[in-house]
């Protein structure tokens, strides 16, 4: 028996921190840390979902404590989802770190602000739009 407001607040804080981390960091690895926090927030939310009465956020039990008797969810959906989430996150970070490593080997940096080759304003971006649209209407 715990108060649900706590986990909710924790989710909010983790998500906010994750967003900040993703947006404010330059180092690719640190950006990934932010992403991990976002995923973690999602995981907490899933587990919180298991703790909710049947029907989730739409359940009448949320507002009326007398209907708090919760029929057991035989599939324990929230927790299973969290586990899967963690797995996916692990796969993701493995891949991401591989990319970061490759980037570092190619560019000798893991600073994301220094890698802009795919940007439209890059001097190496040669596909001029006029070549695509074929000029203007008369």
């Amino acid at each position: 028996m715990i108060h649900l407001a706590g986990p909710a607040l924790l989710v909010a804080v983790l998500a906010g921190a994750g967003v900040y981390g993703v947006l404010a960091r330059r180092n690719a690895v640190l950006v990934l840390i932010g992403a991990e926090l976002l995923l973690a927030a999602a995981g907490v939310l899933f587990v919180l979902g298991t703790a909710l009465p049947a029907g989730g956020l739409g359940s009448p039990g949320l507002l009326d404590p007398t209907i708090s008797a919760r029929p057991a969810d035989p599939l324990v959906s929230g927790q299973v989802a969290t586990i899967m989430l963690i797995t996916i996150a692990a796969a993701e970070i493995g891949l991401a770190l591989a990319v970061v490593l490759l980037l570092f080997r190619a560019r000798a940096t893991s600073d994301l602000t220094a890698v802009r080759e795919l940007g439209e304003a890059s001097p190496s971006y040669t596909d001029h739009p006029d070549a695509v649209t074929g000029g203007s209407l008369p």
């Binding site: 802009r116 080759e117 940007g119 439209e120 304003a121 739009p129």
Partner: protein, 666 residues
């Protein structure tokens, strides 16, 4: 029988027009015969119709094109046959037949270079084409003959229409045919310009008819002429006034009345038989016919007839003066047509009150309505005869001398006495010399005007009377002047020689060009006799002896003055005028220039402006869309700056906005 005949007067020429194009191919001979057959059939039909109408009374409601479901009303597109239509139809058919026959000789199929062409009044660019080029071209005769037939059919449609929509069809088809015929010698720039001008000026006038039809349809709920006449007194005043004034605009355009008359003198660019057709019986007469046909409407509308009278008065005198100064036979005749048509219009315009005085004696109201237009119609008939004669004679003269300029003519009496006699006959009828047809009809108009003036019709009638008397004098002058210049004096040997070098006296005219002249000479001389046993239409048409005497004296004075001019020291009466005045009159008061400055040039400038506006203003918006899209694209491209965190930032922002929207909206 009458109904069938009336129908045939329209259908026969139209059918033969189509046959002439479709069956004859490029063979001019076949085309000529198709055209003549059509005209002959038309004449027979018209005579049968006239006989039927005169013996068994009028007939209305002859179906032609079924009915038209206009939405809120269904109009029956009917024809009618009454004395008015029958008499005019006979005149039209006679003239058309003469013209078809005459054209066969005049525009002889084997003679590719038309006589008009050689010495046409040289305007700048008039001969921008070597004559040989036209000689190579296939003959245009089949199309010409078919167009004349179609022209006849259209006029017959106007004459017989009992529905304004039908009348409008004939009315405008005539305009199109005149365009085709005036532009017959289209290798000449002047002919092209004249054709376009003829069509456009009359079309502008026709807008009046078009809108008048719409107004009457909206106000009266029908376009049937008999229906409208029956309802003339119950129609709203505004509808009546608007419709009649608009119709007058169309009349002014078609009948070449001031200020829309400028096309007619230029239309002399057409072959001479065409001029005879247009001037004598068809196109210009259609305007007067329309007013006569709708006279009860005009009479019921305030001021419409007064306006018509003013227009007619201005036109008849002004055109007569302009005719006096012309140095070209055909243009003189053209101006005389304008003047004479104004007589008819004046006769119709003043006729109402005169006719009303006698209405009590007429059989019924409808007949009285028709009879009121009698003087004008009588003049229409006599004019048809003598003007056709004059033009055809002029064509012969042109054929002989190869020019239409007075400067190239002279001494016709010595070389071709019979032709000169016919010319004299026509000109005397034009001048109103008794006892020719023209005299009676003109005096009938003047009598009607005088009676109307005396019976309190007010100043328009007086204006018509004064203007008419003055015009009689001037008409006598220019008619006699024309005769003096063409028939009297020594032959111009240089010009009277035929192209092949034969002596002028030996140059023979084809028979097909001669006998239409004699046919037309008969009514020219004796049409006045119709007043001895007038049909109902002319029952109220009288000639007042005193007025007739005054008119005749004035005409003869003009004739005498002009004929005696050589003894006064100048062969040409016009030379007695100051040079400036002469030039001004010859140019038709320079109204062409005014028209050019006030209408044509502004129109061209406006068209250029709009043309540029279409490209640079209206189309600028789509093109601006292109530019704007490209700039927007360039701007949005800057968002794709290659920085991964920036992309994530936009994604987060989007998610936040969506989430917020969800919260707010729920």
């Amino acid at each position: 029988m009458t109904a069938l005949a009336a129908l045939l007067t329209i259908v026969l020429p139209a059918t033969f027009a189509a046959l002439g194009i479709a069956v004859s191919g490029r063979s001019p001979v076949w085309a000529r015969e198709w055209g003549r057959t059509g005209a002959l059939g038309c004449l027979v039909a018209a005579l049968v119709e006239a006989h039927g109408v005169l013996t068994s009374g009028q007939q209305a409601r002859i179906g032609l094109l079924g009915s038209a479901d206009l939405g809120s009303v269904t109009v029956a597109l009917d024809l009618r046959a009454d004395q008015l239509s029958a008499l005019v139809a006979v005149a039209v058919a006679v003239v058309a037949l003469c013209v078809q026959v005459y054209s066969g000789g005049y525009l002889a199929p084997d003679q590719s270079v038309a006589p008009d062409q050689a010495g046409a009044p040289d305007q700048p660019g008039a001969t921008d084409q070597p004559a040989s080029a036209y000689a190579e071209a296939p003959t245009r005769y089949p199309a010409y003959a078919a167009t004349v037939s179609l022209f006849t059919a259209a006029m017959m449609l106007v004459v017989h229409a009992d529905d304004l929509l039908l009348l409008l069809i004939g009315w405008e088809v005539m305009g199109a045919c005149s365009y085709l015929l005036v532009g017959h010698h289209s290798e000449r720039a002047s002919a092209r310009a004249a054709a376009v001008k003829a069509f456009l000026v009359t079309r502008v006038g026709d807008l009046g008819v078009l809108i008048a039809v719409v107004v009457l349809l909206a106000g009266g709920g029908t376009t049937s002429i008999s229906g409208l006449i029956a309802a003339a007194d119950t129609l709203p005043d505004g509808t009546l006034t608007a419709a009649t004034l608009l119709l007058l605009a169309g009349v002014a355009g078609k009948s070449a009345q001031f200020p829309l008359h400028t096309w007619l003198p230029d239309a002399m660019e057409g072959p001479t038989p065409v001029s005879a057709l247009i001037h004598a019986a068809t196109m210009v007469a259609a305007g007067v016919f329309l007013v006569a046909r709708l006279l009860p409407l005009f009479a019921a509308a305030d001021g419409a007839l007064a306006v018509a009278a003013v227009i007619a008065s201005i036109t008849m005198l002004g055109a007569a003066l302009a005719a006096l100064a012309q140095d070209d036979l055909k243009r003189l005749l053209a101006w005389s047509t304008i003047s004479q048509v104004a007589y008819m219009l004046a006769g119709v315009a003043v006729a109402d009150s005169a006719g009303a005085a006698d209405a009590a004696g007429a059989a019924d109201a409808a007949a009285a309505d028709l009879a009121a237009a009698g003087p004008g119609i009588l003049h229409l008939l006599t004019h048809a005869a003598f003007k056709a004669l004059l033009f055809l004679v002029a064509g012969c003269v042109t054929h002989l001398v190869g020019s239409t300029l007075f400067a190239d003519m002279g001494g016709l009496r010595a070389t071709h006495p019979a032709l000169a006699g016919l010319l004299g006959l026509g000109l005397a009828a034009l001048a109103g010399v008794p006892p020719l047809g023209g005299f009676w009809s003109k005096e009938a108009v003047l009598t009607a005007a005088e009676r109307a003036a005396r019976e309190g019709a007010g100043w328009p009638a007086w204006l018509v009377l004064g203007s008419g008397l003055l015009t009689a004098l001037v008409t006598g002058m220019y008619a006699a002047r024309a005769y003096a210049l063409v028939a009297l004096g020594p032959p111009r040997t240089a010009a009277m020689h035929a192209p092949d070098g034969e002596a002028a006296t030996a140059h023979r005219l084809p028979a097909s060009m001669i006998w239409p002249l004699w046919v037309l000479a008969v009514p020219t001389a004796v049409l006045g006799l119709v007043l001895l046993a007038p049909p109902d239409l002319l029952a109220t048409t009288h000639v007042d002896p005193l007025t007739a005497f005054t008119g005749a004296i004035l005409s003869l004075a003009g004739v005498g003055w002009a004929l005696s001019a050589p003894r006064l020291g100048t062969a040409d009466l016009a030379l007695a005028l100051p040079a400036g005045v002469r030039g001004f009159l010859r140019a038709g008061y320079r109204l062409d220039d005014v028209q050019h400055a006030l209408v044509v040039r502004p129109y061209r400038a406006l068209a250029r402006l709009i043309g540029a506006g279409d490209r640079d203003v209206v189309d600028a918006y789509p093109r601006a869309t292109v530019v704007a899209t490209r700039w927007a694209g360039l701007g949005l491209r800057r968002l794709g700056n290659g920085m991964a965190t920036s992309y994530v930032g936009w994604a987060v922002a989007g998610a936040l906005v969506l989430g917020l929207a969800g919260v707010v909206l729920s």
